[in-house]
Symmetry: C2
Subunit: 456 residues, 2 copies
C-alpha cells in the first residue's frame, strides 16, 4: 500500500546542493582543527543510558531519545511501574540505550575508557550528529551536527589563546569576516557575587545579568532586586552595565570593582593574559571582546567562557561557544582532568553564509561534462573518452539513454552541468569531440588531449 512519505518532525533531508555546502563548512573547520593539532575521534550514536542520564539536568533527561529494548522487553519491565502505568519510572527497565545528546559527555566517557591509550594533553575534535527531543521550531532541529574541539589534561591558558586564534582562523577561512569573539570568566562572575556579599545568590545573579541584551539594564536590575539582591549591592557593580569601552578599559573597571575578591582578581589576571597574548599575536578578521554579562551554562564552566556573535549586520544568535571546565571526567571516575573547548554551530553558520552569499560557486559544482548519448557505438566511443577524463580527475557522465537531444540537453541544463560533449558518427570518424559551453553556447571540435586540457 502506498504511503505518503515524509521525514519525522524536526529532522531533515539534505539535497546534493545542501550536502555540498554543509561539507564545505565541515571541511573548512576540520582543516583548521588539524592545523591546530587536534585529532578526530568518533563515538557511537547511542550510549548506555546510564552514561547519559543525569548529566544534563532533569529537562535534559527528558529530551534524550531512548531506544526500546529488543525482543520481549515487557518481560523485564519494572512491575510496580507497569501496574501504575508510570511512563517515567518504567523507562529504565525497557530501554537500556539512548541517542547521544551532545558530544561532551561521550567525549568524557571516551577519555576515561581509553585513558591508558591517550597521550595527555589530549587535543581531540569530533564532528557528529546529536539528537534532542526538543519541540521543533524555526532553526531548531531534533537531529543536528555538533563540531567540537577540546583539550583535556592541561590548565595552561595558552589554550584559551589558541581557541581564540582557532575561531579567528575558521571564520576567516570561511570568508565570514567581522565576527566578534566574546570572552568572560566564571571567576569574574563569582567575584561580583562575592563583592556584593551575595555569594549564595551567584546563580540568580548570573541568570539575571545574562539577560542584559534582552531586557536591558532596568530589567536586569528589577529581576535582581526581586531575587533579594540589595540596591546598595547593585550600586557597587553599576559600571558593568556599560557595555561600551575597549577591552583594557573594561579590565580597568573590573579591577576597580573586584579589589576585595581573590577569585575575581584571578579572573582578571586570566582575561588579561589571554587579551595580551591575542593582541601580541594579532587576529585576522575577528575581534576579541570582553563581555562580563556572558554566562552560558554556568554550572559547567569554571574558567574562561566564550561565545561568538555573527557580524553586527546579521540577526542571529551565537554561532559558537565554549569555555573551560575543571572536572568533566570526574563523573566517570577520573578526577582532576581540566578541560577547555569550543564548539561551532553548523546550522547557524550555514544560514549566515547563505545570507551573505559566502559559499564559493565551485562548492556546488558537480559533473563538469555530460556526453550526449547518440546510440550504442557512439556511447562506447564516449565512454572511452569519459574514462580518460575521470582518470585525469574530471567528473564526467554519459547520458544513459539515446533519448531525444532536447531531453538530454535539458538534463544538462537542470543539473547545471557547464559543458556538453557531442560526438556522433562524424566526430568518431575524425577522432574528435564536439565541446559545447552551456553558458556561452560556444562550440569547438577537439581531440581528446584538447578536450582534457580544455575541461581542466
Amino acid at each position: 500500500m502506498a504511503q505518503k512519505p515524509s521525514t519525522p518532525k524536526g529532522t531533515r533531508d539534505f539535497s546534493p546542493v545542501e550536502v555540498a555546502k554543509r561539507n564545505y563548512i565541515f571541511d573548512t573547520i576540520k582543516s583548521q582543527f588539524e592545523k591546530f593539532g587536534f585529532q578526530p575521534i568518533e563515538t557511537p550514536s547511542f550510549e548506555n543510558s546510564e552514561t547519559l542520564m543525569g548529566k544534563y539536568g532533569e529537562e535534559g533527561d527528558r529530551l534524550i531519545f531512548k531506544i526500546l529494548n529488543s525482543g520481549d522487553f515487557l518481560k523485564k519491565a519494572n512491575e510496580k511501574a507497569y501496574l501504575d502505568k508510570d511512563s517515567n519510572k518504567i523507562t529504565a527497565s525497557i530501554s537500556e540505550k539512548a541517542l547521544r545528546y551532545d558530544l561532551t559527555v561521550p567525549f568524557a566517557r571516551y577519555v576515561v575508557q581509553h585513558q591508558s591509550e591517550i597521550e595527555f594533553p589530549f587535543k581531540r575534535y569530533q564532528i557528529q550528529p546529536v539528537w534532542r527531543a526538543d519541540r521543533p521550531q524555526k532553526g531548531r532541529f531534533r537531529e543536528f551536527y555538533q563540531c567540537d574541539a577540546d583539550v583535556v589534561g592541561s590548565e595552561s591558558l595558552w589554550q584559551e589563546v589558541e581557541f581564540v586564534q582557532l575561531y579567528d582562523a575558521v571564520f576567516t577561512a570561511l570568508g565570514l569576516t567581522g565576527v566578534s569573539i566574546k570572552i568572560n570568566n566564571r571567576k569574574i562572575l563569582s567575584g561580583f557575587a562575592e563583592v556584593i556579599g551575595e555569594k549564595d545568590r551567584l546563580i540568580d545573579f548570573t541568570v539575571a545579568l545574562d539577560k542584559l541584551d534582552k531586557i536591558g539594564e532596568e530589567g536586569v536590575k528589577k529581576e535582581m532586586l526581586e531575587k533579594g539582591i540589595s540596591s546598595e549591592a547593585l550600586e557597587k557593580i553599576q559600571p558593568i552595565f556599560n557595555k561600551e569601552g575597549s577591552f583594557s578599559d573594561k579590565i580597568d573597571i573590573l579591577t576597580g570593582i573586584l579589589t576585595s575578591s581573590e577569585t575575581g582578581k584571578q579572573g582578571i589576571e586570566e582575561l588579561r593574559f589571554v587579551y595580551n597574548a591575542v593582541t601580541e599575536l594579532g587576529l585576522d578578521t575577528a575581534t576579541l571582546e570582553l563581555d562580563v554579562t556572558l554566562a552560558r551554562g554556568l554550572n559547567y564552566y569554571t574558567g574562561a567562557i566564550f561565545e561568538v556573535a555573527a557580524p553586527a549586520t546579521i540577526q542571529m544568535g551565537s554561532i559558537g561557544g565554549g569555555g573551560r571546565y575543571d572536572d568533566l571526567t570526574g563523573i566517570f571516575g577520573l578526577k582532576n582532568v581540566s578541560g577547555v573547548g569550543i564548539s561551532f554551530g553548523l546550522d547557524r553558520i550555514y544560514l549566515v553564509m547563505e545570507e551573505l552569499g559566502l559559499f564559493p560557486e565551485t562548492v556546488t559544482q558537480n559533473t563538469r561534462v555530460l556526453f550526449i548519448n547518440f546510440g550504442e557505438k557512439e556511447a562506447l566511443y564516449a565512454l572511452k573518452a569519459i574514462r580518460d577524463l575521470r582518470q585525469k580527475g574530471i567528473s564526467a557522465e554519459l547520458y544513459p539513454e539515446d533519448a531525444k537531444m532536447k531531453k538530454q540537453m535539458n538534463y544538462a541544463n537542470k543539473r547545471e552541468i557547464p559543458f556538453v560533449v557531442l560526438a556522433g558518427v562524424e566526430e568518431m570518424a575524425s577522432g574528435k569531440f564536439g565541446l559545447k559551453n552551456m553558458k556561452t553556447g560556444e562550440q569547438q571540435k577537439l581531440t581528446i588531449e584538447e578536450l582534457t586540457s580544455g575541461l581542466k
Copy 2:
C-alpha cells in the same frame, strides 16, 4: 558516583588513527563517486516507523531499533496489548520512530518525497551509518556505515557497465588490486527454473545454488532433490556447476541451456552487453567474472546482480555488492522507476587494507611540528611562528605548559610528531628556531622562512 564507562554492545569508539584510515577509504570512494557524476544526499538517522517496518521481512523488522516515544508514552499504549503484556503488539503504540536499517529504503522515500525537485535519471550516493539489532559477533556490528551509489529512472544497461568501472576505479584508487567483480542476472536464474520446469521453485532452487561455494556440488544437488527438484532437471543444468572457464565460455554454455526460455535469453543478452562493453573499455586492476550461482537478495533484484570478492589471497566475505531492482519506489507510491546500485562494505575493506598494508603512511600523519614550551616569552615567540606555519598549511602545536623537556619530547614521540622546534632565549635573540628531526635526531638553526620551507 563513578561508573565504569563502556560503549553499548556491538558499537565502537574510533581513535584518531582509525578515523583517519576510515576517512581515507570514505574520501577515496567519494572522489570516485563524484567523478562518475553521483551526487551526495543525506537522510535523517531515524525515520517514521511506517517508512521502515515491513520492508525487510519479519526478521528485518525485529532487527530495527525502535525509539521510545517521549513524555507519557504509556498513556497512548494499545490497551489490549498492555493487558496481554504483548511486547510485539504494543510496540507500534509506544514507538513512532526507528533508526535507519539501511540506506536503500530511506533513499526510495527520498526519491518519492522529492520527486518534483529531482532531475531523472537521478544519480545519488549516500555514506551514512545504519543500525541493526543483530547479535554482535566478529566483524558484525550494531552500528556500521553503508556507502551506496544508485541511479534511478533509467533502464539503460550502460549503467551496469559504469558500475563495473566504478568498482574497478575505487579499488584501484585504494591500491586494492586484483579484486574480482562477479556478475549474474536474475533473468538467468529465472531461466534455469523455467527450463527445468520448476518455475514455482525458483526460490528453493536459487537458495540451494547460492551455497555452491560452501557445500559443494553434491551438497547443492542433495538439497535440490530434497526440495523436490527431479534428477532429470538437474541433468539439464549440469554444466552450471562447473565454475571454471572464461566469461565467454560460460555465456556459450548458458546459451546452450537456456534456448527454450525467453527470460533466460534476455538475461544472456544483458550479460553479453555488459561483458562486451567492459572488455572494449578495459579495467585497470579488477576482473569481471560471470558467476551464475550468485543470487543475493533474490526477491529484490530483477536484473543484474553484483558481488565483489577480495583478492584470492585474502579470506574475507564479499566487500561489495548490488544489482538492479525494478520497483523500489513502488512501496511509496511512485511506480515504474527502475534503479540499479552498488554498495561498498567499509568494515571489510578496512580489514583487507590493514592485512595487506595498503594504508599510505601519510594517512595517519597528524601534527607536523611541536614547539617546545620554555616559558611565557618563549611561548609567545613560538606562537608567532606557529601562526605563520598554519597559515602556510602546516599543522603545528605548542606544548601548552613549560613542563620538563623530557616530558615534552616524550609527548612528541608518543604522538609520532616528526619534528620538534626548540626556541629559547638564545634563538629568540638571533630570530631563529632550532629544528629537530625526531627520526634522525638531526638539528638545525633556521630562520622562519627556512623553517617553513623545511617543513613543507
